[in-house]
Symmetry: C2
Subunit: 327 residues, 2 copies
Amino acid sequence: MNSPLIECVPNFSEARRPEVVDAIQDSIASVPLVRVLDRHSDLDHNRSVITFVGPPEAVEEAAYRGIAKAAELIDLDQHTGAHPRIGATDVVPFVPISGATLADCVEIAHRLGERVGEELGIPVYLYEAAATRPDRQNLENLRRGQYEGLKHEIATNPDRQPDFGPLRLGPAGATVIGARPFLIAYNVYLTTPDVEIAKKIARAIRHSSGGLRYVKALGLEVDGRAQVSMNLTEYRQTPLARAVELIRREAARYGVAVHHSELVGLIPQEAMVDAAVWYLQLDQFEKGQVLETRLAELSGDAAGRQELVDRGFLDSLASATPTPGGP
Amino acid sequence: MNSPLIECVPNFSEARRPEVVDAIQDSIASVPLVRVLDRHSDLDHNRSVITFVGPPEAVEEAAYRGIAKAAELIDLDQHTGAHPRIGATDVVPFVPISGATLADCVEIAHRLGERVGEELGIPVYLYEAAATRPDRQNLENLRRGQYEGLKHEIATNPDRQPDFGPLRLGPAGATVIGARPFLIAYNVYLTTPDVEIAKKIARAIRHSSGGLRYVKALGLEVDGRAQVSMNLTEYRQTPLARAVELIRREAARYGVAVHHSELVGLIPQEAMVDAAVWYLQLDQFEKGQVLETRLAELSGDAAGRQELVDRGFLDSLASATPTPGGP
């Protein structure tokens, strides 16, 4: 069977005490079948992002353990940092990778939210695809006023009633939980130090100001170079190559070019292959033509696995590592 | 452990009797751990190509069984077809995919060649990276005169003495065995029916007439469209994107453009990712940023696997499917 694989990318309000982040990471990794793929801490933000994957049930349990450990060790009344936050565990998105859908992840978000509210007494807001109201889809809306502001509003403002948990903030604050497609964090550096050009290009390409549907973007100056910093929120609909080529064309309008690109974190193989297919004009390309994908398909299907059992190669169908790649 | 993975792409002189090709394929697939990835038959050529992968020992055994079955069922005195051939099994290349080197594949070619010569009485010529003389690297040299010509020469021309086996051709003919890097078969269709343009471009880009080092190319007319048909013989040195972009530029010189591309057969993920990295200008990209690669790395290392055993998830380190992808 091609084991379902989902990803979870919780953000915790801690970075300056690495031992605390270690403890949270260990609690996540303590669940069998969960693999921690990445950890990133920002001292200015005083915030850390842990990326982990695994089968849905394991990832749900690992997220719970991480939230519980963070609540134990992080006191928001003591927390300072440049990044807005409302909780020790600030946000917990679930992301389908393969053999799972966004709807599956929404279900997990609901179930985890209820458990966190009841067992840990932490107020939970559901966001993105799991949101219970349209105005709750956006994380920025839910985090308005941050922890300090929410402390006062949660019991008095009906608009800020959590989806689960008490109308009361403890030192662990509140947690936002939800589901979204895989997000690609991608920066394009231009051949100019002029950040105004990057800002104009960001405005041109992002959805909010008239650009591509699933693109968020900002113009920044990084290391003396203008940078268009993007989040691609639905790469299957607004593909990477299209966004980059639009930046390239807009940059040419300003007389500059793309100096280089930078991928922050991970990217699904599919997104890279889709980009290659676009540039190479491989019109009839089938994903199964990628050798490793063909091999995973053959190893992953039930008949194939049964064959491996029959040949004495696998002790049973249960002895299986999650198969990377997907349908 | 990241199990070594090699590929074998034998060509057999049969297509018009599919039941014969079935029997050959079954004999290959009868070896545990071998996966047949692809099968392609050409009725004009009366020739079939079977692509299979697996751990080195399994692939070597499967190749032997395929050669033995072909020798049983194919009589070259009865064979006609448009493609040059000297044997029932005409050529058997071994290709490293991951966790194995070209040298490993050369070793296998030698060992198999000796076994085929001794146990099946079939003369064997080693080619490509396994060749015993520089003038034997090239398949075309070894196939000169085809089966009919070789029948007369093998005992009389010292230059045609096989590397293994008798100085005598039976109805199974002779077999060429060797090792080479992964070959990408790639066609670029132009926005013109003029095959002369495709021929000029092919001449410009292929190594033999002054072009890129690891490119072979022909200009053809296919379905009323000019096509540059390429073999990329060492994509890690002469990458796909470079070859395609050179075709594009040469086409522009003739006032035409690339209509679309076509990949024949399979391609390693690495080659597609490399192409995307080139076009996207992802200068600091690390292969481990592909999520599935990162996951395979984590699942494949010994410590990771031991952890899975300790957690009772794997019965033992032996219960492991080959891990796709690789270093």
